[in-house]
Amino acid sequence: MSTQIPKQTEESTETETEPASKGDERRAEKRRRAAERREQRQEEEAEKAAADESTVELKVFRYDPQVEGKQEPRFDTFHVPFTKGMTVLDALMYARDTYDSSLTFRHSCRQAVCGSDAMFVNGGQKLACKTQISDLDEPVRVEPLPHAEVTKDLVVDMEHFYDQMEAVEPYFQTNEYPDGELEEQRQDRENREKIKMSTRCIWCGACMSSCNIAAGDNEYLGPAAINKAYRFAMDEREGEEMKQKRLEIIEQEHGVWRCQTQFSCTEVCPKDIPLTEHIQELKREAVKNNLKFW
């Protein structure tokens, strides 16, 4: 019968029926304390509100090619009540759900893994869900990613970015599998450590948007795609032959040589991937490789 832990069941029923139980007393006491805290907080908040600090001013870029009045880009201002721990995404969602349901932006995971919500916040490429309002100067200016076509409001067309990502053959390739069906390939820890950071990319496009070279040369692979190539080129499971091929890919006309070490990509990457370092390492690998033939 009982698969449950008797103690817990007993106690929880007890607390409901016998108000004088120890747990209940403590709870009541804590409620009181919590209530006091809340009161205090409310007072503080009221004070703040009086000082006009409890709301955040958001200036959000608006544009819609189809809706009259929005065809000419403009900035809308929203005042959002500030709560502790509020992120730019929270503020945007609040503004959308409370003031203007046509406010459009991509978002999904709210935890910096889906890469949907890279935006230009106060002049920097940021993931909205990972950017605390309290770290920003007001008014908070939110714009779509620069150097990308705006679809609507904060949504940009990511197709080009995806094309670049897919141009580097972003999939594992090797001919050297272990014999057994159920045998994994061996990889030493060091090698896995080496590629670790490069595997963290969430395709948010922040890096690409921040890079002036990518802005000027539309065909430049861009930091994210080069990083993707790095992830495979440095993975020793792929073997030497493949590495050769990978280097050829990144060495193309619009590949690594385009990078001018601006470091903006590294600066903005929300996953802290050392992009410039990876690009530079690939350049060196390529030169080393070529020196063999020169």
């Binding site: 000027g216 050769q244 390529a286 490789n289």
Partner: protein, 123 residues
């Protein structure tokens, strides 16, 4: 071997040469500045002094090399910058050859000047 060579593109080679010339220039440009502004002051320049230096073969060849590398480095740098800003197609080809021509003129003129000082008849 032809196929193997396809594994590198001039992009990589030019990039590399830009760095190699930079290293060379770093030393020589420092030397050049030091010599002509600190050891000999700017207001003391004269044809005689220039020509005295140029008559030494080592100095002469260093300067020619300096000229060639600086021209390559500078012109290649300019070309790269333009290409990075999205210069393509015919425009690109035209600019490329214009730059090459300018480089040739610059180097030729530089050599003639050096020859004039060094007392070599070719100028």
């Amino acid at each position: 071997m032809a196929e193997r060579y396809s594994s590198f593109q001039s992009g990589g080679r030019m990039w590399f040469l830009q760095r190699v010339t930079a290293v060379f220039l770093l030393v020589v440009l420092a030397f050049h500045f030091f010599l002509l502004h600190f050891v000999h002051h700017a207001d003391e320049v004269s044809f005689l002094a220039s020509s005295a230096r140029m008559e030494q073969l080592s100095y002469y060849s260093l300067m020619i090399l300096f000229l060639v590398t600086a021209t390559f480095h500078g012109v290649n740098g300019v070309y790269n910058a333009l290409v990075n800003q999205g210069l393509t197609g015919t425009k690109r080809t035209v600019i490329k050859w214009t730059l090459v021509a300018a480089s040739v003129v610059l180097i030729a003129q530089g050599i003639r000047t050096a020859n004039a000082w060094a007392g070599i008849g070719l100028y």
